[in-house]
Structure formats: structure tokens, C-alpha cells
């Protein structure tokens, strides 16, 4: 999932990447990656909420 082999955006590179990682993003399908993304978003805001109390101790 992290990175791709080259830096030139061509259709062949795109096909190779899709094939290599089996990536598809069609349709409004709530998949595992969406759960991960939402969890990361909530975690980010939770850290910020925690930061309020940390700052209060300065």
C-alpha cells in the first residue's frame, strides 16, 4: 500500500500498480480501509482533546 515503483504517471504504471496491490476504489462500499480511516480520524481528534488537559498542566 505504501508507495509505488516509479514516478511517471502512465497508464501502464497505473495498471501495474493496480495489479500488484489489487487496489480498487469503485462504488460507495464501506470496507475495512474506511473503518481504518475513520478510526484514524477519531484517534487524531481524541489526541487533540487529550492535549487540552496536557496544556492545562503547563
Amino acid at each position: 500500500l505504501f508507495g509505488r515503483p516509479g514516478a511517471v504517471f502512465t497508464t501502464s504504471l497505473y495498471r501495474a500498480t493496480i495489479s500488484r496491490y489489487r487496489l480498487h476504489a469503485g462504488g460507495p462500499i464501506i470496507v475495512v480501509m474506511d473503518i481504518l480511516a475513520v478510526a484514524l480520524g477519531i484517534a487524531s481528534f481524541a489526541i487533540l482533546l487529550g492535549l487540552i488537559f496536557a496544556i492545562d498542566r503547563i
Binding site: A7, Y14, T17, M33, L48
Partner: protein
């Protein structure tokens, strides 16, 4: 350089000041609950919104309660936007997805959601090939209003903290947010959208048009509700274009007149808030001093950018190209610029949108000369204090003001005071950390991205030269400063076909960028509110002979010195590795 070019720049500053003064008076009235001419229109919807949200808008909040409200509200916005963007085809029944676009991948959506909630509007996607009208309107445009509202609310809270004479209350977040959206952002956006339509912007829900060009080849013309999104994109210093080419697209920015209007719209609220601050502090000269600081630094940036772009690049001169203005051409470095805006209209727009958190572009920043390209980077390095974003600019420069007061106090051996309130160790610790978060986020993310193969995969330029470094540095500097403009090239989205089918994101760039935007936006907000809370409870000392004045030219010079010094010490090595190397050589990097 041309006379007209310089005249445009001078007129721009004059008109901006003339508009910002009355708007500042109006905004001060809005936030102190004085009567305004829009009260009959918005009082009822205001009460209705409080009832729906079940909040008591009259209850004062201390800094922690205010901060919690801002964070939780933004989290709710984040979740809603993510849902809208990832279920794009489920909303086809509204008729607002005529092209039947699918959703962008999860990682790109994570980045986009974080981007719009933080007022950054960094876009790895192209609007006309990715987003349905529903996503643009119900998702992105709504966040354009709300994220701008959060920024302004925080600035107002900091003002209250500085000027309050008793208690710990900073006001009420919900009250400030609702009044910002209803009394300030909505009416001005409405007027600006009409002006844009009058000048040729489009506002429709049509299917994309297919036309035959003069060379007998078919061309698809993207449609959509452009003007309404364009207005708040600029007014809220959001910057996310309806189209991929942003304000260079003739439907977003049709004429030289709209170019001038758009630039004024970007700066008018950040400038007006400074005057509002002077009024709310009961000392207008405080506002004038901050405005003077911002205006001097702004003009410096414009002058350098205009001269650099009008002169052209060393590579152009080495190739024997003429860069003088001639009839029908503005001359200079016109690569990546629209002829209808010219050099001055492009350089000025570039500075306007990079001193603020707007990030809209009407030209390709990557095509700027080395020195011209260094200007937006230097602007971003100033961490949004040269007018800055709506709200962001004011609270950021007020933190710098406190730092300058502290340094000035140390230099003359007096206890630092600002508007009668003693600045002590705790406030300075909060100020220092608050000011360092954004630069740290930018530099850390740049280092991570350039040092890892996953990060370098997003660079478009082949090789690892200064151009590649500039792209990477600019990408994370822009995201950390919630700006959103790009040095082109650097990507987090591979989309060979319009409509997202089969497209995928570059996870490293998408996630790192998303985290950078979230923390660099909200952590400084928390520190600014903490400073406000610390100052709110302080007793006001009477002004004496030993009080250092903060409303005169001497303080303006001190403040500029502190801002430049902090920015230069933090970012100069990085600027040297990218644009400055390019500016000092005739070699044309890829």
C-alpha cells in the same frame, strides 16, 4: 515591469484598506452583540439554530470548554464529510451527480476530509473529474463555511481573553460560530457569487457539455455550481477550487476584474479582523499597528515576486529569450500564467493567497522563477501572520505580539505587559510552543517524505534535484500552514480516468498530509485558546511611564523583526536546498 502592473498593486492596497475599515467596525459590532443592519434577517434563524443544537449561547465558556466545543464540532464535521465523500454514488437520486462519478479511494478521502475541515483545501483530486455536485455543495462548500467560522471564533475568543477585565469566560463557541456564518460569511458570499456570475462564472447543475473545437476535435467542458463555491472558497481563505486549475479556470475567474475582486475577497476578512480587534480592545491604534506590520511585510513579498517574475529566470536569459514587456504581452516569465492576468495579476494573486491560508492559484507556482517561487514559500514560512487565514492570521500574529512584547521587555529590563496585562512565564511557554508547532510539523513531514522511498514516490520530477525537494517541502509546508496551494507535481492520487473507477491513492502521502493538517491546525488553536484563558483572568495594570508602547512604529519594527527572525531561523536551510539553489543557477531542473 509595467506602470499598470505597479498601479494594480498600489490600488489593491488602497481598496483593501478602504473595504476592511468599515467591515472591521461591522464585525466588532457582530461579536459584541451590538445592533447591526442584518439583525432583522438573521435573529430568527440564529435562535432556531441554537434550539436545534440544544446549546445555551449565553453561557460563557472558559478556554477548555471553548476548545472542547471547537474540537468536537470539527470531529463531527470530519465524520460527516468523510461519509458524504465515500458514499458519493448513493446520492445520485438527488440528480447532483450527472457524470455518475464514484467515490475517491479511502486514503485520498482521508486527506481531502482532513483538508477541508482544517480550512486547508489541499487537493490531491481534481474537482471536475472526481466530485459530484452533491459532494462539492453539501460536503466541501459546507466545510468552507464552517472551518472558516471555527478560525474566526478562535480569534474572537483570544481577543476577549486579552481585553477582558474580569472572569475566565472567553465567550461562547456556538454563539461566535453561528454569528460568523450568518452575519459575516453568508451575506458577503452571496454578493460575491452574484458578481462572479455577472462576469461569466457558471452556476448550474447541467451535464458536462461536449463541443467540437476549431481543430474538429471533441472537448468536454465541465459544468457545475461554480460561483457559489468560488465565493466562499475565497472569502473563507479556503482555496479549494471547483476545478483542478483553480482560479486559472475561466469559469472560476473569468476576467481581470474578477481577478482583482477575488484577491480583495481573500484579504478583506483577515484585514477587517485586525481593525475589529482594535475596536474591541478599546484602542484602535493597536489594530493599526498590527495592520501596518502585515501591510509592510505583504508589500515586501509582492515587490520581490513581481520583480522576479517580470525579470524572468536565469535559464530564460541563458537561452537568449526576450523577457521585456511588448504590445500584447506582459513579458517576463509567462510560463504557467494566464495572459489575461499578466505578470502583476499573477504575482499579486500568488502573494495574496500564500500570505493567507487560502492557497487558491491563478498561475502555476512551479513555473515561477527560483526567487519568485521562494516568495510563496517564505510567505508560508511566516506561519500565516501576514494577514493570514480568517481568524488564523489574527490569533497567530497576536501570539507573535506577545512574544515581541516579552523580548522587548527583556531588552529594556521591564516586566512585559500587553494592554495592561502582565506577560509571565506560563503565557510565554504557551506562546512559544504554539508558534513552533506549525514549523515543526512542516519540517518533520518534509524530512520523513524526502528520506523515505514511499515519500519520494509522490514526486513528479524525475531525479532527486532541488525541484523534487521544493515540491515535497512545499507540499508539507502548505499542508502544515493549512494553505493548500501546491508546487504541482507532488501527488497522492493516481487517477488515469475521470470518475474514480479503478483509481487509487498514495497512502503515505495521503495519511502523512492528513495528520499534518489536523495537528498543525488544531494544536496551535488549543495553545492560542490556552493563552486567552491565561490572560482572561489577569488584572489590568494602569498605563505608566514605564509601559512599553505597542501601538507605534518602533513596535511595528520590533514585531516584523521577531517574525522574520523566527521564520528565517526555522526555514532558511530548507529554502536554500530548494528554490534558492534554482534562483542562483542557469541550470533548468526537470
Amino acid at each position: 515591469m509595467t506602470f499598470l502592473g505597479w498601479l494594480t498593486i498600489v490600488l489593491f492596497i488602497v481598496i483593501l484598506t478602504a473595504l476592511a475599515l468599515p467591515l472591521g467596525r461591522y464585525m466588532a459590532a457582530v461579536y459584541t452583540d451590538e445592533r447591526t443592519f442584518l439583525d432583522p434577517l438573521f435573529r430568527t434563524p440564529e435562535r432556531l439554530l441554537y434550539r436545534v443544537m440544544r446549546v445555551d449561547a449565553d453561557r460563557g465558556q472558559d478556554w477548555k470548554a471553548y476548545a472542547k466545543s471547537a474540537i468536537i464540532f470539527s470531529l463531527a464535521g470530519w465524520l460527516l464529510l468523510y461519509l458524504i465523500l465515500r458514499t458519493q454514488t448513493l446520492w445520485n437520486f438527488t440528480g447532483l451527480n450527472p457524470q455518475k462519478f464514484h467515490s475517491a479511494p479511502w486514503n485520498v478521502t482521508f486527506n481531502t476530509t482532513s483538508s477541508f475541515v482544517t480550512n486547508t483545501n489541499w487537493q490531491y483530486y481534481g474537482g471536475e473529474t472526481t466530485m459530484s455536485y452533491f459532494s462539492q455543495m453539501a460536503g466541501l462548500t459546507v466545510q468552507n463555511f464552517l472551518s472558516a467560522g471555527v478560525g474566526i471564533a478562535v480569534a474572537v475568543a483570544l481577543i476577549r481573553g486579552i481585553v477582558s477585565r474580569s472572569g475566565k469566560s472567553l465567550g461562547n463557541f456556538w454563539h461566535d460560530l453561528v454569528r460568523t456564518v450568518l452575519w459575516v460569511l453568508t451575506p458577503i458570499s452571496f454578493v460575491i457569487a452574484l458578481v462572479l456570475v455577472f462576469q461569466g462564472s457558471i452556476q448550474n447543475f447541467s451535464h458536462y457539455a461536449t463541443l467540437t473545437t476549431l481543430t474538429h476535435l471533441p472537448q468536454t467542458i465541465a459544468m457545475g455550481p461554480v460561483a457559489s463555491q468560488e465565493a466562499i472558497k475565497l472569502l473563507g481563505t479556503n482555496g479549494g477550487g471547483f476545478f483542478n486549475t483553480n482560479s486559472a479556470h475561466p469559469f472560476e475567474n473569468p476576467t481581470a476584474f474578477t481577478n482583482l475582486v477575488e484577491m480583495l475577497v481573500v484579504l478583506v476578512i483577515p484585514a477587517a479582523l485586525v481593525f475589529a480587534y482594535g475596536r474591541m480592545a478599546g484602542n484602535r491604534r493597536q489594530g493599526y499597528a498590527i495592520y501596518g506590520t502585515m501591510a509592510v511585510m505583504f508589500l515586501g513579498a509582492v515587490i520581490v515576486a513581481y520583480i522576479a517574475e517580470a525579470h524572468g529566470s536565469p535559464a530564460q536569459h541563458a537561452a537568449g529569450l526576450h523577457t521585456h514587456a511588448i504590445a500584447g504581452s506582459a513579458g517576463g516569465n509567462l510560463e504557467g500564467k494566464e495572459q489575461r492576468f499578466g505578470i502583476a495579476g499573477s504575482a499579486l494573486f500568488d502573494v495574496v493567497t500564500t500570505v493567507t491560508s487560502c492557497g487558491a492559484v491563478n498561475s502555476a507556482i512551479e513555473s515561477f522563477t527560483g526567487i519568485g517561487g521562494a516568495v510563496p514559500m517564505a510567505n508560508l514560512s511566516a506561519s500565516e501572520v501576514i494577514f493570514g487565514g480568517v481568524g488564523t492570521g489574527l490569533y497567530s500574529i497576536l501570539l507573535y505580539v506577545l512574544l515581541a512584547v516579552f523580548i522587548g521587555g527583556l531588552m529594556v529590563g521591564r516586566t512585559p505587559e500587553y494592554l495592561g496585562k502582565k506577560i509571565e512565564a506560563r503565557e510565554i511557554k504557551l506562546v512559544a510552543i504554539g508558534l513552533l508547532i506549525t514549523p515543526l510539523a512542516a519540517l518533520f513531514s518534509t524530512a520523513l517524505a524526502t528520506a523515505s522511498s514511499a515519500g519520494r514516490a509522490s514526486i513528479s520530477a524525475v531525479g532527486s534535484g532541488p525541484q523534487g525537494f521544493s515540491e515535497t517541502f512545499y507540499a508539507y509546508l502548505s499542508q502544515a500552514n493549512n494553505n493548500g496551494s501546491a508546487f504541482a507535481g507532488y501527488t497522492g492520487f493516481i487517477q488515469p480516468n475521470a470518475g474514480n473507477l479503478g483509481s487509487h491513492g498514495v497512502t503515505f502521502a495521503d495519511l502523512l498530509g492528513g495528520f499534518t493538517m489536523l495537528f498543525a491546525r488544531f494544536a496551535p488553536i488549543l495553545f492560542a485558546l490556552a493563552v486567552a484563558g491565561a490572560l482572561a483572568g489577569k488584572r489590568i495594570s494602569p498605563v505608566g511611564l514605564g509601559t512599553m508602547r505597542t501601538d507605534n512604529p518602533t513596535f511595528v519594527v520590533l514585531l516584523i523583526g521577531v517574525i522574520v527572525l523566527v521564520g528565517a531561523l526555522t526555514f532558511f536551510p530548507a529554502l536554500l536546498l530548494g528554490p534558492l539553489v534554482q534562483g542562483l543557477t542557469g541550470h533548468l531542473y526537470g
